[in-house]
Symmetry: C2
Subunit: 441 residues, 2 copies
Amino acid sequence: MTDVRIKRLNAAQEDFDQALAQLLAWDDSVDHQVNDAVRQILHAVRTRGDAAVLELTETFDRVTATTVADLEMSQERLRQALESIPRQQREALEQAAARIRDYHERQRQASWRYQDEDGTVLGQKVTPLDRAGLYVPGGKAAYPSSVLMNAIPAKVAGVGEVIMVVPTPDGLVNDMVLAAAAIAGVDRVFTIGGAQAVGALAYGTETIPAVDKIVGPGNIYVATAKREVFGTVGIDMIAGPSEILVICDGHTDPDWIAMDLFSQAEHDEQAQSILISPDAVFLDAVEASIRALLPTMERADIIRASLNDRAALIQVADLKQAAAVANRIAPEHLELSVEDPEALLADIRHAGAIFMGRYTAEALGDYCAGPNHVLPTSGTARFSSPLGVYDFQKRSSIIGFSADGASRMGRVASVLARGEGLTAHARSAEYRINDGSTSQA
Amino acid sequence: MTDVRIKRLNAAQEDFDQALAQLLAWDDSVDHQVNDAVRQILHAVRTRGDAAVLELTETFDRVTATTVADLEMSQERLRQALESIPRQQREALEQAAARIRDYHERQRQASWRYQDEDGTVLGQKVTPLDRAGLYVPGGKAAYPSSVLMNAIPAKVAGVGEVIMVVPTPDGLVNDMVLAAAAIAGVDRVFTIGGAQAVGALAYGTETIPAVDKIVGPGNIYVATAKREVFGTVGIDMIAGPSEILVICDGHTDPDWIAMDLFSQAEHDEQAQSILISPDAVFLDAVEASIRALLPTMERADIIRASLNDRAALIQVADLKQAAAVANRIAPEHLELSVEDPEALLADIRHAGAIFMGRYTAEALGDYCAGPNHVLPTSGTARFSSPLGVYDFQKRSSIIGFSADGASRMGRVASVLARGEGLTAHARSAEYRINDGSTSQA
């Protein structure tokens, strides 16, 4: 029946570091065939614009159109979708959007400046991007929540135009996705997808405007295309498989924890679910819950494959050690299913999102808690952050020297520039030194 | 004599957009031979650690050592360097460091949280990286200012350990670079370089600890290696050639402007210097200054090649149009050499650093103004920012639901999860709905 076999590790075992490294290892090696295909598509879109987009959309999505303008969806169509979905879904999307907006508004950064003693003005000017592109997968993995999570931070940042692309393979349209676009305030929607959509957003075509940054999830072709156009435009992270790490003191209902692990495992076979507890009996209880609940799950096959391949139940000496292992993993999602999550939080240094206490199911964060569900995976939480408003704003340094300041600091710059052998730098600074001899503007 | 011929453009000319695009075009195509060499080096370091680092350092830098520990420089050696350099240089470095620290301290971000009506806690926990690696080029292009600009933001962020690598080809050590490391508070220094140093920092070896992010400039091998290890560690930007754009109203001393253009051009032949003015006579005057001053420059050959290949003098109708062209270019450095820079600033949306007024030579920003000199190049200021403290901090979302909040939002999550066909997500949320029937922890 339920042939689920989950790895057991113990932080006390001699080869634990090695076993953990093996558990976390993820083959992200490049697929050269995919690379070549993507490069050809990008080249076609870059050089032939609309014509290439039309051909590729016909080939890959079996959607025929005479012009790319025909592939644009009107705001009217988005509103129709919003009105056509069940009222309960619409309300849920609107509630989620309001919470996401509220949270993200607190991330908005403002320009600042100050004057130093000699009258020199220094600061930072913060401006939104002119245009952002949002990739939304079509077909079966169509996630309206992802539209909210990607578009709302851009709108909160003040991005001038948010342009969404979403493929409609065989003409299949997902109304909940379009409704989410309407709620999030997406400005334009083109029903194109794949590497060709990424190329169109990066380079622009006769009809589709070039954007400054492309965000949003996609399959291997989309991810590869994003990596290729990086530099021409900004991109968000290239996501690895989704992961959850649950630290539990052994006093949460084992069924709850089993379901939390399932909620990650059901994404795909590569998703990773890990439970850490100082209580070996509790690990057994969760494993029993897993066995009992698995046959009742709609996506049991995916969950089973994911758990067998990538999950682990890890025993530790205490919660202190649990935190150390968590920092080593730097998980995308971290549940602190313990009595005193605040105390444990102090020891956590690396995680994309931290879910505090037994009631905070990770799934709440995926949809409607407020914070973003686009999070660093594969240990990259060691150096990167959730998608946020800050990803759609950028900074320019402001430097304004008074005549006195330029004269005083020109001497410093001159010494350093000459020390580096850059004499044009030195002389440019020296012109502004007021020693009574140099020419003045 | 001075065979300098600078392109002239006029924003009124019919093919201006095309001419500007051509001027800005920059071939960043991948060199496959470099790629292959770098991959081999990274593989060697990843699999053979210290032994590979020793071999490659002997091969490329002609430096022989028995152990990698022998390649580490002591803090004592850094202090010696600081004491050995001319007093004027030491003071200039210390003054620059103090200003850089002062500016960057204002960029430090703090954690925040708030409680919403139902008792749910939401927030963002900001933490510094555990370890950062700083690449510093050796040999002739050794820039102490670069050590300050890269290391100080990391230290201000609170990074636990800043590890610097700097090659010493043929044993050549630059004391000003070591002095800068001492002043910036660099924790450890290894005298290694090239792709092998990047690999050592990314993967770690027996002696060199793995870091979480690698920053700092380097040649094509270093840049390629950084691109390759991205994902395993974070990296700063991959910089293109340096650029300056000067907007002048025609009332600054033409010699000053000529020297400001030189200060960019002297970096290398690919550097780009552009001047925009509504005053055609002034453009002629600057060109005359360029011809007169060029023969007096130490790096005249580099400057001449850079100006001939990549510079331009652009005439515009007025300053409004100058700002529009600047936004199109999104330059790394932008000088507003005009009477009222504040008025013009309002129209500027994209630039790495903005230098306000006639006294603010770009060279002051390179060394000692305070803001960072690591800036987005090649138009990437449209979507990216100067290097800053924020590059050494990362965020974790904090979500803590009360029992009531989890119950209320669980209903919303359930609707959305079921709408996406993710029933484990739905059931995980539903367990926390308090309808009097579900089990409670």
